[in-house]
Each structure stands twice: as structure tokens, then as C-alpha cells.
Amino acid sequence: MEAQFNKPACLQFEVLLEDHVTGDLSNADAARLADHLESCMACNSALENAAASVDLLRTLSPAADPGPGFSRMMMARIRQELSKLNEQRSVWQPFISLAWRFAATATLALAVLVTFDAVRHNNNSEIVDLRPAGTRELFPDPGRLPANRDEVLMMVADTNHGKR
């Protein structure tokens, strides 16, 4: 047999009714609710039910101890629900993550390029022209001096045997 439920309370008064049950109702709201209760049987009935259930639940607290694992279980479930909510909210998270990776890679590449360019520039400026006077036609590239005798000969040959 199905339980017969009372008519539900008025939607706009449910918060006040709950406050009344828990004793958190302000004076102004109490007067407003009292006015309403004078003419609303559904709210009266729901309030009576809710208030009675508070006393009923009080009997539950000392006897039916949910056990030490209950809080842990509930908090785990709450965390699970929250993580689900967070996942639902972060539809754009993969794109944001990808964008950050691109940005990081681009920054790194830029840093490498700038460093490489600076080092190269420094190396060029540090090259000292060690060629003796009068032999500069033989060795036109000051950045690359001949390493051995063969290279000297090759360079001399390339510059028309030292003839002008």
C-alpha cells in the first residue's frame, strides 16, 4: 500500500518553515509566517510533520551510531561528487592545458634562439685578426685561419699564388 502524503507546503514559505523548525527564524519572518499559517492548512500540516520528525530523529542520534567509517565514507563520496562537478565544469580544461603547453614551448624556443644569437654574436666579436700585415690578401677570412700547412697552400693557390 502506498503512503498517503500530505499536500506539500507553499514553495515560497519552505525556507521559513525550515528556519522555524530549527529555531533560526527572525522576528520579522516569524510574524510573516504566522500570518500565512493562519490561512494555510498545507503549510500547517507540513510544519507539524517536519517538527515531529526533528524529535523523531533525535531518538536516532544516540542509538543508531553510524559507526566510525560513516564520516570517512560520506566525505569520500562528497569528494567524489565534487570532482565530478569539477570535471563537468572544465570542458575547456584540455584546450587551456594545450594552450599552456604551446606557450611554454614557444617561450623555450624563443629563449634558445635568443641565447644562440647572443653567443654567436659574442664569438664573432671576439675574433682577433692575427694575420700579419701584408698577408691579409692571402687570408681573406679572418674568422677562419688556416689550421695547417696544407690549408695555407690551398689558400695561396685560391688567391692566385699570392699575386695581385
Binding site: 507540513a46 536516532l60 562537478l85
Partner: protein, 83 residues
């Protein structure tokens, strides 16, 4: 009363049962529950009120008593017996 109450709580939707137990047994405040569940305080209050009212409806139905009965009126001792 305890056994009946346990059974009645089982008849409630799981979400409402957990909310009611967190409030009444675990002692969480409405504000804490609202923060944990990431909903409005008033939403918690409305859900709690409806769950309380429904629980008592189920209780009356189970005991088959009318609203004039002391147990149904909520006049219950802490050990679960009627005053």
C-alpha cells in the same frame, strides 16, 4: 522506533537521506552543507524541510496512526518511546 526509523530512512531517496543524516546525526550546519554540496543555503533548507515532512508521512503511514497520536505529534522520549 529505532528499527522503524532505520527502515523509513532507507525508503527516502539516497540523496535526501544523506543530507538529513549529515545534518541531524553528523551535526553539519546548513552553511557547511551548502558549501560542501556547492548549492545555495536555501536549497539545502528546502530539501531538508521536504525530507523531514516526508519522513514523518512515512512514519505515520508505518504506524498507521493519526496526527493526534503522541508519537506522530513528535512527543517522543529519547529512548524512542511515546511520552
Amino acid at each position: 522506533v529505532h528499527d522503524i526509523l532505520d527502515q523509513l530512512l532507507d525508503e527516502l531517496p539516497e540523496r535526501d537521506r544523506e543530507l538529513l543524516i549529515l545534518k541531524e546525526v553528523e551535526g553539519f550546519s546548513v552553511q557547511e552543507l551548502a558549501e560542501i554540496l556547492n548549492v545555495n543555503v536555501n536549497t539545502i533548507k528546502v530539501r531538508l524541510f521536504r525530507t523531514r515532512a516526508r519522513l514523518m508521512d512515512l512514519y505515520r503511514h508505518r504506524l498507521n496512526v493519526d496526527s493526534s497520536h503522541p508519537v506522530a505529534k513528535g512527543r517522543v522520549k529519547s529512548d524512542g518511546s511515546a511520552i
